[in-house]
Symmetry: C2
Subunit: 132 residues, 2 copies
DNA sequence: TAAACATATGAACAGATAAAAATATGTTAG
DNA sequence: CTAACATATTTTTATCTGTTCATATGTTTA
């Protein structure tokens, strides 16, 4: 009872088991089901993607590399990265929301630093991957 | 000789040392210079961001999680993730360019698998970060 | 309190990106 | 070779994201 088409017909809202695929689907169906059972929650997958999205911008990566070396105020970050204050502030907000950096106010300045050591590990692994 | 403005005047193409910043710049200038000296190449920072960008999409994350469990052909991947073949192929291409997955043709089908164990480490660290 | 300064926020524009649709390429069977 | 099928690619569309500009908030000093 399997169709020959790989596309899932959208009109009929079929259960995953009945979704037609390639011809050998009787064999693969079980695999598909087994794999799906062990997948993490949709929420977790989404959050993970959101986290990596934060790493996926060179301005934010540069900010993190600066903070690897030392905490720094927004103004000096802007100068270091040769960008304007507003752009840096916006990116810091995103990094802060992801709990990758933390800010501490000192007088008029706000000093940012790394919030977490996972950051280094993740970036180190990324660098290792690239060296190949 | 320091201006009071934080913004870098674009008209004058100043060397980094002469760029005006906040009032205490005499103090911070040296810090800025020292940090900049230890920064990785622009190319590496850019490549890193590009790599994490690949992780920063829930479809691609889901593909990776499927491949953690077992290699799989495009068609079954599409079925597993309940998306059409074209979308999966497109994402697989991006993952392949980043050398995160590899494809092996077997007859008409192409089976994809993880290309690298860094992938697991990076994602595991991401998961750990989220649990907080 | 007012002025000066550092940072944060909001709106708008430009460039990037995912998904869908249509089509092309590559592979096997007959 | 042709037909049938799995995958890849191209194009288009809609959405998302980073930067800039203008402005607001918060802090210190006079």
């Amino acid at each position: 009872m399997l169709a020959k088409e790989c596309e899932i017909p959208e009109v009929m809202n079929l259960a995953i088991n009945d979704v037609p695929c390639c011809e050998e689907c009787e064999v693969h169906e079980e695999k598909v089901r087994a794999v799906n059972e062990k997948m993490p929650d949709e929420d977790e997958l989404y959050d993970l993607a959101e986290l990596f999205k934060v790493f996926g911008d060179s301005t934010r990566i540069r900010i993190l590399f600066v903070l690897f070396q030392s905490e720094m105020c927004v103004c000096d970050l802007a100068q270091t990265l040769n960008m304007n204050q507003s752009a840096i502030s916006h990116q810091l907000k995103i990094l802060k929301q992801a709990k990758l950096v933390a800010g501490r106010r000192e007088g008029k300045s706000v000093f940012y630093s790394l919030a977490d050591e996972h950051v280094r590990t993740i970036i180190d692994q990324g660098r290792e991957h690239i060296e190949e």
